[in-house]
């Protein structure tokens, strides 16, 4: 899909999102967007410049009514528009679960295909804000259970660019979940305005042979863990699913076939995390590849403390991932020694 010249430019995560939105608005006059503080540009959508370029009728501050923000999007989408709604923070998004679950995801089905529902919803996640439990939710596992939604989780400027374009162009309602702490991360991204990362395609971030490390919205922590593991002689293959629905389970299975071991790191709460479902799929279709239990490194099932020293250890850390992998590899190596 990339331009043959392969030229790139360097942008932050947040700029990658802003560029993708602006380019898609340029490409398709039916793309419109709203969300809190769009006009002042506060919420990382580049609203101020979008208004300058596209006009206040395509970019605006809505009333603070999250459920209607999505409901109105479903309506305008049914008549041919492609709205992008910024719900800003995962906790605010629960206010809109009615319209996401009951309308956005299912009008197409309910009406036998008469209604299209090509909306994109952005949901940000704070995990280092000391904001307390009302600003630190990570709710993608909840929406994964809802048929009809696609869910993507950009983790770098490059894949943010590719996934945002895919999301806006997709005819399904696509939820884009990302972590606010990535905002300032910089990376070269393709210039190509048609650089799209297909929804449902995982990325092998780092190859390895001893263990498959799937990283759900905690790519940095996982990559750092993999580097540490390399130092102690454990070769970890790191996979970033990028899309949670549809999930590229084949890439994960192929890796587990090679490594025989699976550890999944997931920034969501443990019970019914995305990690749970990935584990379930591998315990089914990849059972015969497994040489060890499947481990999950998630946020425990507790609310997020405000107090920084507590907050800073509650989400998955590289240290926890390393420890989990090390124990697993050592235990299963020992077991194999016994068995052999």
């Amino acid at each position: 899909m990339e331009r043959t010249d392969g030229s790139t430019h360097k942008v932050t995560f947040i700029e990658a999102r802003m560029e993708a939105v602006a380019e898609e608005m340029r490409r398709d006059p039916k793309v419109i967007t709203w969300g809190e503080d769009m006009r002042s540009g506060l919420m990382g959508f580049g609203g101020a410049s979008l208004i300058d370029e596209f006009g206040a009728h395509r970019v605006f501050d809505p009333p603070i009514s999250e459920n209607a923000m999505v409901g109105v999007a479903v309506g305008v989408a049914a008549l041919g528009y492609r709205p992008i709604v910024n719900l800003c923070v995962a906790n605010f998004a629960t206010y809109a679960f009615d319209q996401i679950v009951n309308q956005a995801s299912r009008v197409r089905y309910l009406f036998g295909g008469q209604a299209a529902s090509p909306l994109t919803v952005h949901i940000g996640m704070n995990t280092a804000l000391a904001g307390g439990a009302h600003h630190t939710d990570r709710t993608y596992p909840m929406l994964m259970n809802v048929p009809g939604l696609k869910i993507v989780t950009p983790t770098t400027p490059r894949n943010a660019r590719g996934l945002w374009k895919a999301a806006i162009r997709d005819d399904a309602p696509v939820i884009v979940y990302d972590r606010a702490m990535l905002s300032a991360r910089k990376e070269e991204v393709p210039d190509d305005p048609d650089f799209v990362i297909p929804i449902g395609q995982a990325e092998i971030v780092r190859e390895g042979t001893d263990v498959t490390l799937v990283s759900v919205v905690c790519r940095d922590e996982t990559t750092r863990a993999a580097k540490k593991l390399a130092e102690v002689g454990i070769s970890a293959e790191v996979i970033d699913p990028l899309s949670l629905v549809p999930l590229d389970i084949d890439t994960i299975l192929a890796s587990v076939e090679k490594t025989g071991r699976l550890v999944i790191a997931d920034v969501a709460n443990d019970t019914n995390s995305a990690a749970s479902h990935i584990a379930a799929l591998v315990a089914d279709r990849g059972y015969r590849y497994l040489r060890a239990p499947i481990r999950r490194v998630c946020t425990p099932d507790v609310h997020i403390p405000h107090s920084r020293p507590l907050e800073s250890v509650v989400f998955p850390t590289p240290a926890r991932i390393v420890r989990e992998v090390q124990t697993l590899v050592e235990a299963s190596d020992a077991l194999e020694l016994v068995v052999r």
């Binding site: 009333p63 459920n67 409901g71 309506g75 709205p83 009406f111 209604a115 009809g148």
Partner: protein, 352 residues
């Protein structure tokens, strides 16, 4: 909102009157005929009839254009019909047939016919109010003078979504007519017991939009008031809130049986309305009221009206017969329409 001429003084157009009459008897017979099959067990699902509320369906919608839209509720067969939806595919949809307008996937509570501008009903209270507001936004963005009529019941006025969408439409002057069919009850709950205002249209003040409560058993009065609201909306002056006072003759849904009389207990059930109340409203039957005006003002004779009714009965019979004769959908249909792409063969599980 200052409505100019009163509906009483207005010179009514004969064709319009007969069209209203036709649509109202169509709704009544359609509902009745469907019930026969339902009670026989030919098809399944909740079935919420608009019997008694025909004027509220037809008054607001009869003069809309094909390019205007309507959104509905769990009780929306009548809205579909009033917006001009063909009866056969509607009946087939309620039945759950492959020939249904939604391929049998939606059913009675989710009827939609995009070909006539019916953008769909929500079986969840107020669920389509955002859709209506969004459709109105599309009209505005497209620069048309199209409007959207957004139906909801008295049971919706205390849902958050009522507030959010009315505020949004009002702030941006979107062309929506918020049409509350106040049939007095939400299932068994009288609106007065759960709602802080006695007259629901008073809530328009909170959005700085016109609000009006009208006799919802009188198609002409309602039509008259709606026409002005529609004109306002077309002119870019924003939404209105109209409360049509009406009544459902039957139980909330067809198969439900409740005791009559507020003190009456039967098993675990207690009644919530008196038969005297039902009878009083039936005295003001919207079809009889309209027929009386038409005949009284000599727009048409009783026999002309009879002929219309007979035509409609025949049409309705055909429609339900069409549903009866249609096939069930293929099980294959389970795998389409949830996502834009059908579920791929290797992702399906064997269901039967």
């Amino acid at each position: 909102m200052s409505w100019s001429v009163s509906w009483r003084e207005r010179e009514w157009d004969k064709d319009l009157l007969l069209e209203m009459y036709r649509l109202m008897v169509r709704i009544r017979h359609f509902e009745d005929e469907g019930e026969v099959y339902l009670r026989r067990g030919d098809f399944s699902g909740p079935y919420h009839a608009s019997i008694g509320q025909e004027a509220a369906c037809v008054g607001p919608l009869v003069s809309l254009r094909g390019t205007d839209y309507v959104t509905g509720t769990h009780r929306s067969h009548g809205h579909q019909i009033a917006k001009g939806a063909p009866l056969k595919t509607l009946a087939a949809e309620i039945w759950g047939r492959r020939t249904g307008v939604c391929k049998g996937k939606g059913g009675s509570m989710h009827v939609a016919d995009f070909s006539v501008g019916a953008l769909g009903a929500s079986a969840l209270l107020g669920g389509a109010m955002g859709i209506a507001t969004g459709a109105a936004l599309a009209q505005k963005l497209d620069g048309t003078d199209g409007v959207v009529v957004c139906y909801f019941g008295d049971g919706v006025v205390n849902e958050g979504t009522f507030h959010e969408t009315l505020n949004w439409a009002a702030t941006w002057k979107l062309p929506v007519i918020f049409l509350c069919e106040n049939n007095q009850y939400a299932v068994t709950m009288w609106y007065g017991d759960t709602t802080s205002v006695d007259v629901l249209s008073k809530r328009a003040v909170a959005y700085d939009i016109p609000g009006r409560t009208v006799d919802g058993m009188n198609a002409l009065q309602l039509h008259h008031v709606c026409e002005e609201a529609i004109a306002r909306a077309r002119a870019g002056e924003g939404p209105s809130l109209i409360e049509a006072m009406t009544y459902r003759y039957k139980e909330h849904s067809t198969r439900l049986v409740m005791p009559t009389g507020v003190k009456k207990r039967e098993g675990i059930l207690r009644g919530y309305r008196e038969s005297a109340e039902i009878e009083a409203w039936q005295q003001r039957d919207p079809i009889i009221v309209l027929a009386a005006t038409i005949v009284g003002q000599e727009h048409a004779s009783e026999s002309e009206l009879d002929r219309i009714e007979q035509e409609e009965i025949a049409q309705v019979r055909d429609a339900w017969q069409f549903a009866a004769d249609s096939d069930w959908p293929d099980v294959e249909e389970i795998w389409t329409d949830t996502w834009p792409e059908p579920v791929q063969a290797d992702k399906r599980v064997e269901l039967i």
